[in-house]
């Protein structure tokens, strides 16, 4: 087409075609979360050793590594949950949109609102209905407008791909749902607070393959609006859902890069051995 639309030299056309293949040049990468020299302890035991990592906005980043490597500890440092564990200590900075969440002026409750979390086991509030489970955070934050709450419940359940399955039974107990539905209910509960970052700690480890694949599809669609960090023991899951992968070992960040690069050609021998199942 370019040959006919205007007068171009062959070199210019080749340059244009090359640029078209390469895609638009990304001039500035926006990092939603910047982890700076994070060290974490449980009592005397150091669980995280000088972790530095930049997490791109509206992307999925997977933390992988053998049990005890510090994945969960790190993810819990991203919304100040780690410090809630007795004897736990964190040093370093976690910047969300440039502001350090560990700054003394920052309210930890606000941090947890902006950085939501979904846990390994689905944990709906057992005495609450489906709708109340989703609305729990809003009510705790003093929102009483019933129309607004109903709207957020619907939007959050839609966001968690659960609305069509529960819209006629919103008053039923959250615990009446299947395991996979319960986990999506927990995701809806987190989404109701409109988090900017969503942390998921092995969100499918207690689910069957079908329920897991629904969560994975959900992760892919949620990243259009939210930055997601997921801890997983399932290599294939990390390969399927994430854009970036960080491999941790003995509390250290061994390698971080684009998921395609990590799984096709990791730079570090240790990463290669781990993802190939040669240890761990």
């Amino acid at each position: 087409m370019a040959y006919f639309s205007r007068s171009l030299t062959v070199e210019e056309v080749m340059r244009e075609e090359k640029a078209a293949v390469a895609g638009p040049v990304e001039t500035t990468v926006r990092y939603k979360v910047v982890i700076k020299e994070i060290n974490g302890w449980f009592g005397r035991k150091q669980a995280l050793k000088n972790i530095n990592l930049n997490i791109k906005d509206k992307s999925v980043t997977a933390f992988i590594g053998p049990s005890g490597c510090g994945k969960t500890t790190l993810i819990r440092c991203l919304n100040r949950m780690h410090e809630m564990t007795p004897c736990a200590l964190v040093e370093g900075q976690v910047l969300v949109d440039g502001a350090d969440i560990y700054d003394k002026s920052i309210d930890p409750v606000v941090v947890k609102r902006r950085v939501g979390m979904v846990f390994q086991k689905p944990n709906p509030f057992p005495t609450m209905s489906i709708a109340d489970n989703v609305a729990a955070g809003l009510k705790l934050n003093g929102i009483k407008d019933k129309n607004l709450i109903a709207e957020v419940v619907e939007e959050s359940l839609k966001g968690a791909a659960l609305w069509d399955e529960v819209k006629t039974e919103l008053d039923k107990p959250g615990m009446s749902l299947s395991g996979g539905q319960q986990q999506r209910l927990c995701i809806a509960r987190a989404l109701a607070m409109q988090p900017e970052v969503l942390l998921m700690d092995e969100p499918t480890s207690a689910l069957d393959p079908l329920a897991s694949s629904k969560i994975e599809e959900l992760v892919r669609s949620l990243k259009e609006h939210v930055t997601i960090v997921i801890v997983t023991h399932n290599m294939q899951q990390a390969a399927r859902v994430s854009d970036f992968t960080a491999f941790m070992y003995l509390g250290e960040m061994i390698e971080y890069g684009a998921t395609s690069q990590i799984f096709k050609n990791p730079e570090k021998e240790l990463t290669e051995r781990y993802i190939s199942g040669k240890f761990g």
Binding site: A239, K264, N265, I275, S276
Partner: protein, 216 residues
């Protein structure tokens, strides 16, 4: 403890090495047939068929390994490359059969000057040997040597083509035409064999480095 995947990788490696041996034998038989005038077409056809079946077996098994174990990194590159290498070996078998086919069609050619073909045949056989060795040892550095040999094969082919196309002051005799046709066709097949030897070493380079185009 060995991974379950390792058992599969060993099996596919053995299949590939069987193909390597068979493909070398088939090319050697075809070239012996040309050099010494012995007709080995049925035997070469059998080699070629075996190689074709083994190639399908490698592709099937590679697919199964990917489906069962979802290999990554070097394991994945190895399996993916096995499919390409198996194709390369099956092409060796096919070109060997094509050479024997030419000889069958042309008939005995004892008085032809065979020096061009023999020279290229020796290079091509060495290239096959080198590519198989590089695969056995996963030696990525063999590719550079093979590219140089491939350049010499290409040059030899072009040189023979120019020689045949050079205008003469007399008509060619029927016997000479048969010599030219057989040599040109066989040189062409050998040139393709040399290319595939390079592709095999490209695969080795890819397995080791993840760089798929060392020549670029």
């Amino acid at each position: 403890m060995a991974r379950l995947l390792d058992i599969g990788l060993d099996r596919i490696r053995n299949l590939i090495m069987d193909m390597a041996t068979l493909s070398e034998e088939s090319v050697n038989a075809a070239l012996e047939s040309y050099e010494k005038g012995v007709m080995l077409r049925p035997q070469i056809f059998e080699y070629s068929e075996k190689l074709r079946i083994l190639q399908l077996e490698v592709a099937d098994f590679a697919t199964e390994l990917i489906a069962r174990y979802q290999p990554v990194a070097r394991d994945l590159r190895f399996i993916q490359s096995c499919m390409d290498v198996a194709y390369g070996f099956s092409r060796f078998g096919r070109y060997a059969y094509d050479i024997s086919d030419v000889l069958e069609a042309i008939g005995p050619i004892p008085d032809c000057d065979k020096s061009y073909v023999i020279e290229m045949a020796n290079t091509a056989k060495n290239m096959i040997k080198l590519s198989v060795e590089s695969l056995k040892k996963l030696d990525k550095d063999t590719s550079q040597k093979l590219y140089m040999m491939d350049d010499s094969v290409d040059a030899l082919y072009r040189s023979y083509l120019r020689f045949v196309l050079t205008p003469r002051d007399r008509e060619y005799a029927y016997a000479e035409v048969r010599c030219f046709i057989s040599a040109l066709l066989i040189l062409r097949y050998l040139e393709r064999i040399a290319d595939h030897a390079c592709y095999i070493s490209d695969c080795v380079h890819y397995i080791v480095t993840a760089d798929s185009s060392p020549r670029r």
